[in-house]
């Protein structure tokens, strides 16, 4: 089975600082993967490159079958061909209702003209309600999302990610600010989602990563330091050096 996302020899430099250094990485169509690494390891920059926010100086990024060169696409195009991203800080549209937030994320035509003529059909409303109950916001659809708690906003953002129905989800610190119960729910959701599509989770919290029970990639100074199960990588002396040796 060929990889869904293939990152090959990517490097990027900011004002002389090498944020990503000859990074190679790949993930299968239905795989859950955690990426860990100390601050400044290049985790966020990696996501920026995949989602088109940052252009690398060199290297290749391909997605899907047949492979599409992501470096040629704009952010919105990348999102449209099936890569969803959840940001570290929850960013939902606070001035709009939960329903509207989800409705915008729903997989539909994205052009201004179709948006003008759009009327939420029965299937769309059902899908939104389905997602809302999945993320525990079924009773909050009419509320402004700005009024939600921090954890609820995290959920809403995950819900928006699901509504996009992407082939690949990039999730940046999903559990930050969540209660224990919410964390468990999040883990379940991510594991379940990864049965049908690829999920990359960037996380600091080792406990959370452990609960995901998935392969782990350790980034350090912009390249892959180690890869394998969590136990395997945490036994790696280099990883220990990076995490504790400073």
């Amino acid at each position: 089975m060929s990889a869904l996302l293939e990152v090959l020899g990517v490097s990027v430099t900011f004002d002389g600082f090498r944020a990503i250094n000859d990074l190679s990485f790949s993930i299968q169509p239905a795989e859950l993967r955690a990426i860990i690494g100390p601050n400044g390891a290049g985790k966020t920059t990696f996501m920026d490159i995949v989602t088109g926010k940052t252009r690398p100086d060199s290297g290749r990024v391909q997605f899907g079958t047949p492979p599409v060169d992501l470096l040629r696409l704009r952010e919105s195009d990348i999102a449209r061909i099936g890569i969803g991203r959840k940001f570290q800080r929850p960013t939902v549209f606070e001035a709009q209702t939960v329903f509207d937030n989800l409705s915008m994320a729903l997989r539909n035509e994205r052009s201004p003209f179709s948006a003008l003529g759009y009327k939420a059909g029965k299937s769309d409303i059902e899908r939104i309600e389905e997602i809302a109950s999945e993320i525990g916001l079924a009773d909050h659809l009419k509320r402004l999302s700005g009024e939600l708690s921090h954890g609820q906003k995290q959920w809403l953002e995950i819900g928006m990610l699901l509504a996009q129905d992407p082939q690949l989800l990039l999730v940046d610190e999903p559990a930050a600010g969540m209660t224990l119960g919410e964390r468990e729910h999040t883990t379940d959701l991510l594991v379940r989602t990864a049965r049908t599509r690829a999920v990359i989770v960037v996380e600091h919290d080792m406990e959370f990563v452990r609960r995901l029970e998935c392969p782990v990639t350790v980034l350090h100074e912009g390249s892959v330091l180690a890869e394998g199960s969590l136990d395997h990588v945490t036994a790696n002396p280099e990883v220990i050096e990076v995490y504790l040796g400073r």
């Binding site: 989602t51 919105s76 709009q96 003008l116 928006m160």
Partner: protein, 389 residues
């Protein structure tokens, strides 16, 4: 929940009713069709104010809803005025020229008519040929189409360039201001073919309707303005109340995020920029026949900034806010600068409002921005909510 258009936009009905009432009242008291309490001059001011409300709605769409602080929408307004003005001036001059030639020994040839029109219109800038840009000035349908096409195309090209290169925020504001300045400087030249700083004048005389007195015309134009404003309000409300409106507001609030949801921010911005430019142009095309004259000074960057001021004072992000702001500030402005406002004696100094109105406006603008960022409509909203609670 009923999800009809009117249910989502309760203000539309109120607005349309109010608009109809005001227009009817003005007609009832007008000189042409009513008691004559309201002088024609005031009817014209009312009609013009309605047009300004329409462009304020356009400004609110692009700024209040989409977050693009355009300092160039008055340029589109002025261009719309120029486009209709070309027909008004050409057709009327043609009538006059032909009338003056009927007594000549020989009936005039088309060339002679055109030459005479050229001399008549372009004599002030030392020309006598009719420039190329006036090629379609004889045709009302074509010029009407150009009212929409020329500003629309300009907005499309400029917007495409600006949004494509992701110019945002104050950069974009300054770029739109530069565009406006460039346009007005261009029109200021005599060889722009649009009579330089003289602009187009005599637009209040409608060709073919020379017998109709201004008092009648002004009523008709007021109704036209009201119709345009009403349609514009409904159209704008329809645009912003659906999913399109949600996306546009999302662009205003977090451009990067909506991009990662797969929306082409550039396409939406370009769409709304162009559509509002066209609305502005239509407003201008109705405004200038009532004003009588359009010249490059009208297009100067400052006019567009005032437009932003109206919308900010009225309250952006609410369509009725834009209308309130435009109506209030422009009416107050003409009251103060018109010399009607009584002087304010302070003992040591007498404040003459003609001189000090600008200062008052500038400072009140600072105060509104500081203390009432949602404008008058925002305060209004708060009152309504308090009553409800």
């Amino acid at each position: 929940m009923k999800n009809t258009f009117l249910a989502r936009n309760p203000s539309v009905l109120v607005f349309i009713l109010l608009l109809a009432v005001i227009t009817l009242l003005a007609t009832v008291f007008s000189e042409a069709y009513g008691t004559g309490l309201l002088p024609t001059n005031y009817v014209k001011i009312l009609g013009k104010t309605l047009c300004l409300c329409l462009i304020a709605i356009a400004m609110d769409l692009v700024w209040g809803y989409c977050g693009i602080l355009s300092l160039g929408h008055f340029a589109f307004f002025g261009l719309g005025g120029y486009m209709i003005g070309m027909w008004l001036m050409y057709a009327r001059t043609e009538d006059i020229v032909i009338a003056s030639m009927t007594n000549a020994a020989l009936p005039p040839t088309p060339d002679e008519v055109r030459d005479a029109i050229g001399t008549q219109i372009f004599g002030v800038v030392g020309g006598s040929d009719v420039p190329l840009v006036w090629s379609f000035a004889h045709s009302l349908p074509i010029q009407l189409a150009l009212v929409v096409l020329v500003p629309g195309l300009l907005a499309l090209v400029f917007g495409w360039l600006a949004f494509r290169s992701r110019v945002t925020g104050v950069y974009l504001s300054i770029l739109t201001q530069a565009m406006t300045l460039a346009l007005s400087l261009y029109l200021f030249q005599n060889d722009s073919g649009l009579r330089g700083n003289n602009g187009l004048s005599g637009l209040q005389n409608i060709p073919g309707l020379t017998d109709a007195p201004q008092s009648v015309l002004s009523i008709w134009f007021m109704w036209g303005s009201a119709l345009a404003l009403g349609l514009g309000y409904v159209f704008a409300a329809w645009m912003v109340s659906g999913k399109f409106g949600n996306v546009v507001k999302a662009i205003r609030d977090d451009e990067a995020r909506i991009r990662f949801l797969g929306y082409s921010v550039e396409a939406y911005k370009l769409f709304i920029f162009t559509v509002t430019a066209v609305i502005a142009a239509i407003a201008g095309a109705i405004y200038y026949p009532q004003a009588g004259i359009v010249n490059p000074a009208e297009i100067a960057p400052i006019a567009s900034i005032y437009l932003a001021v109206w919308v900010a004072i009225g309250g952006r992000g609410r369509l009725y806010g834009a209308v309130i702001g435009a109506a209030l500030v422009s009416l107050l402005s003409s009251w103060f600068t018109g010399g009607q406002a009584p002087d304010l004696p302070l003992g040591f100094y007498t404040v003459q409002w003609v001189d000090w109105w600008q200062v008052l406006l500038g400072l009140s603008f600072v105060l509104v921005t500081l203390f009432a960022p949602r404008g008058i409509a925002g305060m209004f909203d708060r009152l309504v909510r308090k009553d409800a609670a």
